[in-house]
């Protein structure tokens, strides 16, 4: 009644979608890294599903006898590598989050981005970039602050 492949593909795409939603929608840096981890899991599952078919045998050669319908071992080796690389990416992202908290004292991305723009503009000696469509009160406040 239910197609197993369909369920698996919807699980993989669901994980990818939830991961992208976490990256895009959340403002806390640790939650963004959680989203990256979810996206990784979904991508691994999708890559492994690419060559899987119903009733496949595990790609293990016993006593020189190759199984008749075995799953393709190449994407499995690639996923094996991707899992290990994923842990490296997570470690790098978490260490960057530690540095961000040490530098700015916060993990909220809106605050961090505002402070970074301020720092960059201050180092370059220019006014903060602002949109010409910003409300007039904001523009005058920025001009007075810059003058």
């Amino acid at each position: 009644m239910l197609d197993t492949g369909l369920v698996l593909y919807s699980g993989a795409f669901g994980l990818i979608l939830i991961g992208i939603a976490g990256i895009v929608l959340s403002s806390h840096l640790v939650r963004i890294i959680f989203g990256v981890a979810l996206l990784e899991a979904g991508a691994n599952l999708l890559l492994l599903l690419a060559t899987w078919h119903e009733g496949a045998a595990a790609p293990i050669i016993v006593a020189g006898r190759v199984p008749d319908r075995m799953a393709d071992p190449v994407p499995q080796a690639l996923v094996l590598t991707a899992i290990v690389i994923g842990v490296g990416i997570l470690a790098l992202a978490l260490s960057l989050a530690l540095r961000v908290q040490r530098a700015y004292g916060t993990l909220d991305m809106h605050e961090v981005r505002r402070r970074m723009e301020q720092d960059i503009a201050g180092e370059a000696g220019i006014d903060l970039p602002s949109s010409s469509h910003a409300p007039a009160a904001v523009q005058t406040a920025r001009q007075e602050g810059g003058a």
Partner: protein
């Protein structure tokens, strides 16, 4: 077999949503390792036992440990009441 796959996929997707919605970072980390363990069971069903072993050891074990150490250092390691 297909009902087992359906149950595992539903559990994985629910806990993936829970990772993003839970306020408690410790609980979100637990939900993330539930996703990893479900993924390793799915890899066994997909006839990739070596990938399943790696996912269970590294994806669920090592990366949860990394997250836990980082949460402690970031000062987010606390229960909601504290």
């Amino acid at each position: 077999m297909q009902w087992l796959v359906l149950v595992i996929v539903v559990v994985m997707l629910t806990s993936a949503v829970a990772v993003l919605l839970l306020n408690d970072f410790l609980a979100a980390l637990a939900a993330l390792s539930v996703v990893s363990l479900g993924l390793s069971v799915l890899f066994v069903i997909l006839r990739a036992p070596d990938v399943a072993m790696t996912e269970a050891a590294i994806g669920a074990g090592l990366s949860s440990l990394l997250f836990a150490l980082a949460l402690r250092r970031l000062g987010l390691w606390r229960r909601r009441g504290q």
